[in-house]
Amino acid sequence: MSVLIGHYNYWIVIFLMMAGLYVVIAQGNLVKKIVGLNIFQASVFILFISMGKIEGGTAPIVKEGMSLYSNPLPHVLILTAIVVGVATTALALALVVRINEAYRSVEEDEIHEQDQSF
């Protein structure tokens, strides 16, 4: 039972993560793939942050009379990872815009067909 209570939130996060990954792998629309990628990454962030949580701890800002803080290191890592994620998203979207201009489509199958035909 304690296994269930101790880990259930990780399982929820893993489910969300896999939903995102499924969108990336299975969907053919380029924009939707980016959304999927973002969901995947955001879920990884939640995984990291939930491991930083400490029962009874507060936000990691030093105040008088507080002794128990959440672990600041995962927060720092995820701040960086969020930035990396948005940078990737911006670049991916720029590529989609260019692909749409070159192929007049954002569907993977159609683009693939056009590439084969010439």
């Binding site: 936000a59 800002i61 701040l79 930035v83 911006a90 979207l93 720029a94 815009v97």
Partner: protein, 145 residues
């Protein structure tokens, strides 16, 4: 992007005029209060960029472009990065390791504060400039020449 809002909508213009200064103030607050509260250069940069994008959406891209020319944004983004590296090199030339803030001032704590202040500033600069740059890149694609 096709402008979704009429550029001459009076209510929007006034609302935007009322909103933008507080947002900019908030960005500055977040920028300089990162040491004591939540926030810091990155969040401040994003908020600053958001205020600017609001301006561009309401008053038209042309006006916004006149303020933030491509050259200015490029220079700002590059300077932000250069500033960060310069802070690192400054400690290197003061005889410590790269990015060691201790030696930046007479006293160790002051050095740390100065270092954090400067690096946060450089993050804010680069992030704001890059976000606005990306916004314009997308926005101007939509306007067919």
């Amino acid at each position: 992007m096709r402008p979704p809002i009429q550029p001459h909508n009076l209510v929007l213009r006034i609302a935007a005029k009322m909103l933008i200064p507080p947002i900019l103030m908030f960005a500055l607050y977040v920028q300089f209060h990162g040491e004591t509260g939540p926030g810091g250069g990155f969040q401040a940069g994003v908020i600053f960029a958001a205020a600017f994008i609001l301006y561009a959406l309401v008053f038209g891209i042309g006006l916004a472009r006149a303020v933030a020319t491509e050259r200015l944004l490029r220079v700002l983004a590059s300077l932000g990065m250069l500033l960060y590296i310069t802070v690192g090199l400054a400690s290197l030339f003061s005889g410590a390791n790269f990015l060691d803030y201790d030696v930046l001032a007479q006293e160790r704590m002051e050095g740390q504060h100065l270092g954090i202040f400067l690096t946060e500033l450089s993050i804010g600069m680069t992030v704001a400039a890059v976000m606005i740059m990306i916004f314009f890149a997308f926005a101007e694609r939509g306007v067919r020449p």
